[in-house]
């Protein structure tokens, strides 16, 4: 870590140094230098031009000062540029140059002052010089003419001549001579105060004086102007600036050199590293080999792990396939289950449905996913209201033992549905599972079973019924045979009566004939016959009637029933059943019926009702026979009554004087296949079927009252109205 920081610091330092050197290498801005140096040269040029302009003005080569003033103005304005010393000049150099500029402009300022004075004096000088000769000549002439002052006029002309000479070549001696003459002329003014030319003479002398005064002054001014060392100062300034510039250049070059050297150093350093690296290459190679070996090892490991991975992947694929297979298997299982299976989420949408339910709904199990039961109109297990949410929230279970469902084709089918909630912990969700079982087949079977039981009952009853029929048949036969024999006797008697009748009509009745007839009547015991034959016929008819009644009862009982309820006379139905079952109870019990003659016709499935009554009667007989044995020591009693208990209910009570139902069996007696009877005496279906018929098919009630040791009464209640809820 420390080495790292150190390396980083060295690196940053190197970059910093390189940057520093690079910046200093490029420190000179050539355009700034050019512009600055041009300005300095411009100053110098302007200064020279100004000098030239002064001289031109002085010697009349220019008649205005515009150029001079423009140049002077420009020179003075250049100061602001001169003060802007390029940044590459070192601070001490800047101070130096600044001082030089200040000095230069002080000189320029003093030169400006001299120039101002020069312009003023030069103007006056030019004016006097221009006017003096004219004025002097004229005044001289006038003085000579007006005043006769020839000497003075002569003297004025001398002043003119000498002044002009003085102007060309000023020297003190000439000046003194001129001043002497001027003073003499002024004396003349004093002596001749009345002269008309005094004013003009005075002005003329003033011009002369001006020339005398200003000529040397102007020469001196020019001398001074030209000698103001601006030129030297300008040159110094330029030289010094050049020096500083060159210093800056060599400094930049020095930095450049340093940069090169530093770069070379870096190269050497880099080279050193290369060499060092070369030296360590052996080690590196070794390390490399080592590394290669390790790489090989690692590669081997990797290959191994790769193989493992491949195996794992294969395994995983296999597992995935297995899983997928398992899933498919599961689906296949679910789809092949005949029960209807569906799973809904908390939103009521199907997340799973099997083939069976899809078939029922006329769709596919795939299409059902995401749909809700509302999408199918009515649905299973809902009895008109969907309580799925309740079930899900309360972890309830709902059982619907039986419901009718009309499928796509309009076929009614019966289903039993169980719904319960399922919490999938790992998914954090709850689902509603529904399984519906198609009861239609069972229903059909049950019907068949009921029929079978009826047949079974009939089979059971057959022997008794045969006996019932046999007895009247026997005496009908006996009586008929008696009537047949009697008829033979009647025929013999009637034959004798025929002979006697013929003899009587011919009048030849013989005693023999009478005795024969008498013998015949006595032999046939006609009196007995006439008494017994009507009885025999009467008995035969009674027997036939009895047989007819049994047959009718059987017919009634064995009524195959209809799919719809039909109003029926329960009393007659009960009577028929009791008759059919006569042989079942006759040996053990007396049977009393108490029929309510006001009982209205009751809508019912008559055949099934008969079956119930039969079951009740047979059960009663069996219960009594358990108590009374074969009946030889006294019989029990079966009481059947019908009552209209209210406007709503018809009630049938079947009571027996049997042993009653033991407490432990009371709760099970309506269960299918529950029986307390010995094998062969009952299938255990009787009460279960009775319960189904009364409760489910008739919406009725089947209860019982029992007193152990005293007997049992089964109470059947059938609704009088056609129950709208009944299907």
């Amino acid at each position: 870590m420390k080495t790292r920081i150190k390396q980083l610091s060295i690196g940053l330092g190197m970059i910093g140094l390189l940057t520093f050197l690079f910046i200093h290498t490029n420190s000179i801005d050539p355009s700034a230098h050019d512009s600055y140096r041009n300005n300095l040269h411009r100053m110098k040029d302007l200064d020279a031009t100004i000098d030239r302009e002064i001289l031109k003005s002085r010697y009349g080569l220019t008649s205005n000062y515009d150029s001079l003033m423009s140049d002077l103005q420009e020179l003075l304005n250049l100061r602001q540029y001169a003060d802007d010393i390029p940044y590459f000049v070192q601070p001490d150099g800047r101070g130096e140059i600044s001082g030089q500029i200040e000095n230069y402009y002080q000189l320029a300022s003093s030169k400006e002052k001299l120039i101002e004075l020069f312009k003023s004096r030069n103007a006056v000088m030019n004016n006097s010089l221009r006017y003096f000769p004219v004025s002097a000549s004229r005044v001289a002439a006038k003085m000579f003419q007006d005043d006769g002052a020839s000497v003075e006029a002569q003297s004025l002309n001398e002043v003119l001549r000498e002044t002009l000479i003085f102007y060309v070549h000023a020297d003190q001696r000439t000046a003194d001579q001129i001043l002497q003459r001027i003073n003499k002329l002024k004396q003349f003014e004093h002596d001749h105060p009345s002269s008309a030319n005094l004013d003009e003479l005075d002005i003329t002398l003033r011009h002369a004086t001006n020339i005398l005064k200003y000529k040397p002054e102007l020469d001196d001014l020019i001398e001074q102007i030209v000698s103001v060392p601006t030129r030297a100062a300008g040159t110094d300034l330029i030289n010094n600036y050049d020096l500083k510039y060159n210093e800056a250049v060599s400094r930049a070059n020095y930095y450049r050199l340093s940069l090169y050297l530093f770069s070379i150093l870096l190269l050497v350093y880099a080279g050193y590293f290369v060499v060092k690296q070369q030296k360590t290459k052996g080690e590196l190679n070794r390390a490399n080999e080592n590394l290669e070996q390790r790489v090989d090892e690692r590669t081997a490991e990797l290959v191994l792990s790769n193989e493992t991975l491949t195996v794992e992947i294969k395994e995983r694929k296999r597992m995935e396939a297995a899983l997928s297979g398992a899933r498919a298997f599961l689906h296949a299982v679910i789809d092949n289950v005949p029960n209807l299976i569906f799973v809904k989420d908390t939103e009521g949408r199907f997340v799973l449905a099997n083939q069976a339910i899809a078939d029922l709904l006329g769709t596919t199990s795939q299409a059902m996913i995401g749909m809700s039961s509302d999408d199918f109109g009515n649905f299973l297990g809902e009895d008109g209201n969907n309580d799925d949410i309740e079930i899900l929230q309360n972890f309830d279970e709902k059982f619907i033992p039986e419901e009718k469902y009309t499928d796509q084709n309009g076929t009614s089918r019966w289903f039993q549905t169980v719904k319960r909630s399922l919490a999938m912990e790992d998914q954090g969700e709850r689902f509603l599972i529904g399984v519906s079982t198609d009861l239609t087949e069972r229903k059909l079977m049950e019907g068949q079973l009921r029929n079978a039981q009826k047949l079974e009952s009939i089979g059971q009853l057959a022997a008794g019924i045969a006996h019932e029929i046999n007895t009247p048949t026997q005496y009908v036969g006996d009586n008929t045979r008696f009537v047949r024999d009697a008829f033979g006797d009647f025929s013999s008697i009637l034959g004798k009566y025929g002979i006697l009748l013929e003899s009587a009509r011919s009048g030849s009745v013989t005693q023999t004939e009478i005795i024969d007839l008498k013998g015949e009547i006595e032999e046939a015991d006609l009196e007995f016959l006439l008494e017994e034959v009507p009885k025999a016929i009467e008995h035969s008819l009674d027997g036939v009637s009895r047989i007819a009644k049994i047959v009718q009862s059987m017919k009634d009982f064995a009524h195959p029933g209809s799919t719809d309820k039909k109003v029926a006379d329960l009393n007659r139905a009960i009577e028929s059943t009791v008759t059919v079952a006569h042989n079942e109870w006759r040996y053990v019990a007396e049977l009393e019926t108490h029929f309510d003659r006001n009982l209205p016709l009751v809508p019912c499935f008559l055949g099934e009702f008969n079956q119930v009554i039969l079951n009740m009667v047979i059960n009663a007989a069996h219960a009594i026979s358990d108590v009374v044995g074969d009946g030889s020591n006294g019989k029990g009693k079966i009481t059947i009554s019908t009552t209209k208990v209210s406007d709503l209910w018809a009630e049938v009570r079947v009571g027996d004087t049997g042993g009653g139902i033991p407490l432990e069996a009371q709760s099970k007696i309506f269960d299918p296949f529950f029986t307390t009877k010995e094998v062969g005496r009952g299938t255990g279906q009787g009460l279960a079927i009775s319960h189904t018929v009364v409760v489910e098919k008739h919406n009725g009630e089947l209860t019982f009252e029992t007193t152990p040791g005293a007997g049992t009464t089964f109470i059947i209640r059938i609704p009088l109205a056609r129950d709208p809820a009944a299907t």
Binding site: S63, R130, Y131, H207
Partner: protein, 314 residues
């Protein structure tokens, strides 16, 4: 801030090399920042520049009266009378110094004078900047030109640039100088000849016919003694330099539009131009001009009246 670069005097093509005229024509085209000229013009007419909001630059430098107020001494705020005759603002950019005593180097430098003089506009930069800052128009106008907004140096710059546009070219005499021989009459030409020969042009020369040198008032006679009632203003440049040699020394005024700028001299002592010519020839040239000579010189001077066109207009 760079100084406005003024055109250099150029000798017209018609000039022969052997005869160098002392007077040069004014330039006809200028290159100035139009926005600054417009803002400067607004400021030039802005009375808010004075303490009591009554006086603007234009109050004393009206263009209709040759860039002057034609008063002996200008009237400042609250009717105060100034100490010196207001010089014309026309062509003032071509004066080498500003004011009679030349105490300002250029137009930029002269603006503090009238704005701050208690008897002129009697204001201060603080006050002026404050007033202008209250105006949305000025805020916008300055903001559009100067990044730092309304500041004394920017106000000076705008006014100076505008004043640089106050040039009056196309004087008859300029047209003559430019080669139009019929531009001036024979009398005017004669006047010019006299102007040169008697020495007027020794001082009144160049593009501005003066304005480029100082000269003592009374070179050939004691003007002030003869006039009487000496004032401080009479000291001239002495007031600036305190150099005795500068006593009674003034900037030689430009003679451009001189016919329009009565009264004359720093003291406004002369109302008519011919009188001014006589005074000048007496005290400066030591000459007595004839009536006719004076008349001709005046005719020539009148030919120096130029035309002012607002910058940017044709």
């Amino acid at each position: 801030m760079t100084a406005t670069v003024l055109p250099r005097a150029v000798e017209p093509a018609g000039f022969t090399k052997s005869i160098r005229e002392p007077i040069l024509p004014l330039p006809k085209t200028l290159h100035l920042d139009e926005a600054k000229v417009a803002l400067g013009e607004k400021l030039f007419n802005e009375t808010s520049l004075s303490h009591n909001n009554t006086i603007s630059c234009a109050s004393c430098h009206a263009f209709s009266t040759g860039g002057t107020d034609r008063l002996v001494h200008s009237k400042g705020i609250e009717g105060q009378e100034g100490r010196i005759n207001a010089p014309t603002v026309f062509n003032s950019a071509y004066n080498f110094k500003q004011f009679w005593d030349g105490r300002a180097d250029d137009l930029n430098g002269q603006i503090d004078g009238p704005t701050h003089d208690p008897v002129e506009m009697g204001s201060s930069w603080e006050e002026i900047v404050g007033k202008l800052n209250a105006s949305a128009d000025y805020l916008a106008a300055f903001g559009a030109i100067y990044p730092d907004g309304i500041r004394a140096e920017n106000i000076r710059d705008a006014i100076a640039v505008f004043e640089s546009s106050l040039v009056t070219p196309n004087a008859k005499f300029d047209r003559f100088l430019e080669g139009d021989q019929n531009a001036i009459t024979a009398d005017e030409l004669e006047g010019y000849r006299i102007f040169k020969s008697v020495g007027c042009s020794s001082c009144h020369q160049g593009m501005n016919v003066g304005g480029n040198l100082f000269q003592e008032f009374g070179v050939m006679g004691d003007y002030f003694k003869n006039r009487g009632n000496p004032t401080e203003a009479d000291n001239g440049r002495f007031n600036v330099t305190r150099d005795k040699a500068d006593m009674h020394v003034f900037k030689v005024p430009s003679l451009r539009n001189v016919a329009l700028t009565s009264p004359y001299f720093h003291d406004g002592s002369v109302k008519y131009l011919d009188q001014a010519v006589i005074v000048m020839s007496k005290y400066q040239l030591g000459k007595q001009l004839s009536e006719d000579e004076v008349r001709l010189v005046v005719l020539f001077l009148e030919s120096l009246t130029g035309e002012y066109t607002r910058y940017g207009e044709k």
